[in-house]
Symmetry: C2
Subunit: 356 residues, 2 copies
């Protein structure tokens, strides 16, 4: 396999972008990445999106993206894996470059969620339709069950959850592309309206429009550019039982643990080697559980670690310096790529005040 690197990035502002459609967002982020990487063409592209069909009645967005970036003809592939859609778009781009099939590949992600669709229904189609969604459970409800299990097993408190949101809003203040630029307090979170006990409104990531993209090429090419690049040490992917009721322990997300273990092994590093981490905080509890699965904190200790400041910008290992899904926003398909954009900025010294 060829070694692979990222050489450029682009993203739109995240938020309620009523004046921008799906195609506007994809093209804006894609062209920004191409321009940032200073490449004169791309060989192919991948785009992650969770449900453009349900959100805006548009499938076949890969062709749409090629077309609206002004490159009808180039191979573009749409990949979907709920909240991991963007991450998998990057993984496919890495594999295509690693295989030698292509030299310069764009990996993008997009979601246009504010357009009149029933977002809660659309999002719930990422759970088990027949056993979960059909019976009325939605994602806040599913993560509330995970939160309860974590609280029961490890003594995690609502205050710990709230501190995740407080930290992420603090970081988001420093991110010009974030949906929210608003400092919040622990009390704000605890007093915000209940969504699904124990998760309040400010424990939940928002409904967001946005897109992000990066340019992937061989490490060899990247070195020739003379510009900042980030080498990909490893990429790994795992799944789990889709329905919560099939999982052994609701306080865990074993897919993350499996993927992380593979990635650490391939990269030949340990969790202690990490300097900065972006995790999926669709709900505050998700950030806690994922920290434990990545083994950057001992199992059951994530809440305390957050409240003690371990993951703040000034802490031992900053987590979600971008503001996380909570404050930056969560256009589902774009999220994985936006996380990579943040890490690219961090590792190439372009993160400004967000540099931990």
């Amino acid at each position: 396999m060829k070694e692979v690197a990222i050489i450029g990035f682009g993203m739109t502002k995240f938020g309620e972008l009523w004046d921008k459609s799906l195609r506007d967002l994809m093209s804006e982020a894609g062209l920004a990445a191409i321009s940032n990487a200073a490449v004169d063409h791309i060989d192919s592209a991948y785009v992650g999106a969770m449900s453009s069909g349900l959100f805006v009645g548009q499938e076949h967005i890969a062709s749409l993206m090629a077309d609206y970036m002004g490159m009808p003809g180039i191979p573009v592939t749409h990949v979907e894996s709920a909240c991991a859609s963007g991450g998998l778009a990057l993984r496919q781009a890495i594999l295509e470059v690693a295989s030698g099939e292509s030299e310069i590949v764009l990996a993008g992600g997009v979601e246009k969620m504010n357009d009149g669709a029933d977002e809660t229904y659309a999002l719930a189609t990422a759970s088990d339709q027949e056993y979960e969604a059909f019976h009325g459970v939605t994602f806040p409800g599913l993560y509330a069950m995970i939160a309860h299990a974590h609280m029961f097993q490890y003594g995690t408190k609502r205050e710990h959850l709230a501190d995740v949101a407080v930290k992420n809003h603090e970081n988001g203040l420093l991110n010009p592309n974030a949906q929210f630029h608003r400092k919040i307090t622990r009390e704000d979170v605890l007093n915000s309206v209940m969504v699904a006990e124990p998760l309040n409104l400010l424990d939940c990531s928002p409904v967001t429009d946005g897109a992000a993209a990066v340019i992937v090429t061989t490490l060899e090419n990247a070195k020739k550019t003379g510009k900042p690049f980030v080498k990909i040490l490893a990429s790994a992917h795992a799944t789990d039982s889709i329905a919560l009721h099939s999982r052994k322990n609701l306080a865990t997300i074993p897919a993350v643990q499996k993927a992380a273990e593979k990635a650490y092994k391939k990269a030949n590093i340990s969790p202690a080697d990490l300097n900065v981490v972006e995790v999926h905080d669709c709900f505050t509890i998700a950030e806690l559980v994922v920290m434990e699965e990545l083994a950057i904190v001992e199992r059951g200790h994530s809440g305390k670690a957050v409240s003690e400041g371990m993951t703040k910008l000034s802490g031992k290992i900053p987590v979600n310096t971008s503001g996380g899904l909570k404050s930056k926003g969560h256009p589902v398909g774009a999220t994985g790529i936006a996380q990579v954009v943040e890490l690219f900025e961090q590792l190439t010294g372009q993160a400004g005040d967000r540099h931990g």
Copy 2:
């Protein structure tokens, strides 16, 4: 890049399968392919589906597939590209094996279309939502425009279109998995109800449930099995402007021409070397245009060639020996893989009476 081969296949019966859900279909085809290939595991999988969100309210089907095949944990990725979804699932599997990332990868496709959804709306989301679908045009209408252009430019007749359907129904009679087992005549097609002039009901492929899967591995591994395998000489992918109004000539489908040219070049063969061909006959006109784009017949001559029997089982170059989408059925995401299943059966001497 490593050389890659297909070593096994599986597919469900195609049709209105009211007693089978999306997950049943995916698992049935996937497990059949694993069993046919006689492998004891798969490293990862890809699944093509056009719009499980709109058809049955289920996104995130990659995890669902891993789960219901009894392998929660393995990496599975859903790819979507309208009617090319299955084809791209195979392409991603090929790239993953070629890159050295994995050794045994399943490529599957599925669509559960008969479940109460508005299929015509769901299918139309593969066109340009803002400029086509929103204004009411559906795929029969779009292909009707292509048919008119072809008739105008090349003198193609409705009889030529009808003969595509007649041939494909003849082939479908020999395919136990086909949705329709019914001989039809040119007059049946010409007298069937008008859908979008000049396309009648029997010019259109049906609404179908079904799934198909193949197992991809390195050529080296394939040789070790001692079982029949098919080496992949090339895989290529191209796109076009999504909206018909942006295309220069409605009587052509340049994406197919571009992809074919790349594939011929990589494989170092010419159209004359082909022994059997599966093409996308979602409407009879599509088979004609695609034959021309593949250069197996001179541009403008496809209608006559079909009516003269060139593409029949007994002809010079059999096309759609499986019965095609017209008679075998067209579960959108499964179609690309089902075509590959047919070619695998043809090339390994397992196509029985459908062997041309």
